[in-house]
């Protein structure tokens, strides 16, 4: 899993590439920790390169979403692979995280 974070003036652009599974979910959580620091987050995550996530990855997305909501911020995930999208759909995460 590769996480690229590019902070611009008002928006934070994030690119995810690879798999999030039991071996690297903790690392993923550390990698996205900077996203939990902004006062009023406006996060745009490109998921086109994310090929897999298990519940361990979902857990990190939920923590991030909670932190964004708590700071009245915004977060959008886009270009999600249909297989990965199904995992978000089945678990109801598509209802609580904005996926376009």
């Amino acid at each position: 899993m590769k996480v690229t974070i590019n902070k611009q003036n008002e928006k934070t652009l994030v690119t995810l590439e690879g798999r999030i599974d039991t071996t690297n979910a903790d690392q993923f959580q550390q990698d996205i920790a900077p996203l939990m620091e902004d006062e009023r987050p406006n996060i745009d995550i490109d998921c086109s390169g994310m090929t897999y996530t298990s519940s361990q990855g979902l857990r990190v997305f939920l923590l991030l979403q909670k932190s964004v909501v708590a700071r009245n911020g915004k977060m959008v995930l886009h270009n999600m692979n249909p297989r990965v999208k199904e995992v978000f759909d089945i678990t109801g995460f598509s209802n609580i995280i904005t996926i376009i």
């Binding site: 599974d21 678990t91 109801g92």
Partner: protein
Amino acid sequence: MIKKRFNPITDKSSEIIAFLMASPDMPNDLDLRFKIELSVEEAVENVVRYAYEGGIGWLEAGTSLDHESLVLTIELRDAGVPFNPLEKADPDVKLSADQRQVGGLGIYLCKKMMDSIEYHYEDGNNVLIMRKIVKDLKK
């Protein structure tokens, strides 16, 4: 059944998942493989993390394929604390982000991704059996 016993299983999740996914019983179709791998990871993780205190113990993982019905069977067996993961209530997937609990999704994903999942306790072992019809639509 193609099977292998892993002992000890501490930090062995990836190895166990790789063993199962490399089985010749597994389909080639990528959509099916995705669903099966996800279920395998969740089920194996459950045993590796929680079955044994301190993680010291064994797990036997196996696959079989019925070539007539094209039903793939994945079996996990351990001698850890008796635990039926299917008794756990499903998470409420309609809650909002701040109401949702972090975690508890693993077995729920197995139930949704596989065609059937059953548990029994037998001779001091937890036995989890997951099945998936692997009719390869793209063939």
